[in-house]
């Protein structure tokens, strides 16, 4: 963890157009929750649907994508990463710092808006709000690590990340039950399910698989990012 690098990364993330994407999606989530509340009143079933399809299913991967790749991919694209890598800071430390920045941003934006939206729709009833807040928090951290790794592995990090989030987790996971075991969304959902007692909500992946899987993926991705940064080659693309 290097505070100067973290400071620069925070400024780069929050001072650009990227922040609009980071802010717009959570605001949209709360706005939709408000609209649904005005249309339907408080409803636990609506809350669970909104959380599952929008908060965990759409907003979390997108925030992970924007935050996780955003902390490092633009620097690699511009070539300015050289200035960072030529400083006497160990590369794994750089990786950990970038990860902490991405994870903290995603965790704050995702968890706060998820809690607000769920609270608007159900209050604190049967733990839906707390459950999904923790699901979004840990899911967001895992997404941050995976997309950070993709950002240093390939120039097409965003496209590959989108294919994972949309095609693998969305389409393949919908038809092939086994694929759901390897989906961060499902891990986040089973965490949420464990903390809530809602009758409208059940998941397939057990908590005993989801929590270790999430931890292994997160730690593994950050370590691999550090290793990869030790021998990063900057070659021209297109």
């Amino acid at each position: 963890m290097n505070t100067v690098v973290a400071d620069i990364t925070y400024r780069a993330m929050l001072g650009r157009k990227r922040i609009w994407l980071l802010v717009l999606l959570p605001v949209a989530l709360v706005a939709i929750a408000l609209l649904l509340r005005l249309l339907n009143g408080q409803s636990e079933q609506t809350a669970v649907t909104l959380m599952k399809t929008f908060a965990i299913g759409t907003m979390l991967p997108l925030l992970g994508l924007i935050g996780g790749t955003g902390v490092i991919a633009p620097e690699i694209e511009d070539g300015t990463i050289i200035h960072l890598l030529s400083k006497p800071i160990s590369r794994p430390v750089i990786a950990v710092t970038k990860f902490v920045v991405a994870a903290s941003l995603i965790a704050v934006f995702a968890a706060v808006s998820t809690f607000a939206a769920a609270y608007l729709l159900t209050g604190m009833e049967s733990g839906v709000a707390t459950g999904f807040t923790f699901g979004a928090l840990f899911g967001g951290v895992a997404y941050a690590a995976v997309f950070l790794l993709l950002g240093v592995l390939t120039r097409h990090a965003v496209a590959i990340g989108v294919i994972y989030a949309l095609v693998w987790e969305g389409v393949v996971g919908g038809y092939v039950p086994g694929a759901r075991k390897f989906s961060i969304q499902q891990w986040a959902q089973s965490l949420a399910d464990h903390l809530s007692s809602s009758a409208f909500f059940s998941t397939e992946v057990t908590l005993g698989f989801a929590v270790p899987a999430m931890a292994i993926v997160t730690v593994g991705a950050v370590l691999w990012t550090g290793q990869r940064l030790r021998s990063l080659s900057l070659t021209g693309d297109d």
Binding site: K17, R18, L21, L25, A28, I32, L36, L39, N40, Q45, T46, T49, L50, T53, F54, G57, T58, P61, L62, L65, I66, T69, G70, A73, P74, E77, R155, H156, A157, V158, A159, V162, I163, L166, V167, G170, V171, D237, D238
Partner: protein
């Protein structure tokens, strides 16, 4: 005594061009063709070819499966008019991955003035880029259903050919290509960074798809069946499907009804007009 001229442009002997000057139309065509090739990675590095060709291959997979089922089980499983709705995630990824390539590098390296120092105008540039993406998307979506149709003709099924469905699907594909190209270029041209452009386009798709599905489910489950279909139109793919089913009489992909056809057509036209106007305004500003 003669006065020495102070500033002279010397003719240093380069050969002049005396050939025919082909003008604006050909310049636009050349830019369009070059952009179209670039969308599929032709004329670019191997790494740039992987993504579009991979996605094009994935688009063909349901065709292969469906021809196999037709040949072995003599059953018709994949209606042509529903192909694009079924594969919408792949089409959206293709759009998100390739639309920023068309516009972002020119903005980022500020080479727009170089294009505009030629007979090409801002409008020509935008038209060439939009046309290139439209044709690329049309190829991506039309080739699989055309192959499937040829397969159906050759296999000689016990039931009559689904010619009407196929032609309707082709018509819908044109509309879908125009809509997606306009939306993709409009969203991608806001940022000179390619990675951010990809994220913006895909965020737009995932957002509209999720919101439309969510509101449809909530409205339908609370008995507001009259307004529920309107929520579907938020998703660009269902919007085109609604227009397609009203103009060409194909089966709606959702199995449910859509709002009246005229409304869907007007919304489609309005969205396309808005997106194209946005691109034109963006480039007027970028060029000045």
């Amino acid at each position: 005594m003669t006065i020495e001229p102070t500033a002279v442009i010397h003719d240093i002997g380069y050969r002049h061009y005396d050939g025919v000057r082909l003008g604006r139309g050909r310049a636009t065509l050349a830019l369009g063709v070059q952009s179209l090739r670039g969308v599929f990675g032709l004329g670019r590095t191997i790494r740039a070819k992987i993504m579009p060709l991979l996605l094009a291959a994935i688009m063909l997979m349901p065709t292969v499966v469906s021809i196999g089922v037709m040949a072995l089980a003599k059953q018709f499983v994949m209606p042509y008019s529903q192909y694009a709705v079924f594969m919408q995630a792949v089409i959206a990824v293709f759009l998100a991955a390739q639309a920023p390539y068309l516009v972002a590098p020119d903005l980022r390296f500020r080479v727009l003035p170089l294009y505009l120092s030629r007979p090409l105008t801002v409008t020509d540039y935008v038209v060439a880029k939009l046309a290139a993406l439209t044709v690329a998307l049309f190829c991506l979506m039309a080739i699989p259903i055309t192959i499937e149709f040829v397969g159906e003709m050759l296999i000689d099924m016990p039931m009559p050919l689904h010619t009407g469905d196929f032609l309707g699907a082709l018509g819908g594909t044109v509309l879908r290509a125009v809509l997606l190209a306009a939306l993709g270029v409009a969203l991608a041209s806001f940022t000179p960074r390619r990675g951010l452009g990809v994220a913006v386009v895909i965020a737009f798709y995932m957002f509209t798809a999720a919101v439309s599905g969510l509101f449809y489910a909530v409205l339908a489950s609370t008995g507001r069946d009259d307004v529920a279909p309107w929520a579907l139109l938020l998703n660009p793919f269902f919007l085109v499907d609604a227009v397609q089913s009203s103009l060409f009489g194909t089966e709606p992909a959702t199995g449910e009804g859509y709002p009246p056809g005229v409304a869907s057509c007007l919304i489609l036209l309005a969205v396309i007009a808005l997106a194209v106007t946005g691109v034109l305004l963006r480039y007027r500003k970028a060029a000045s």
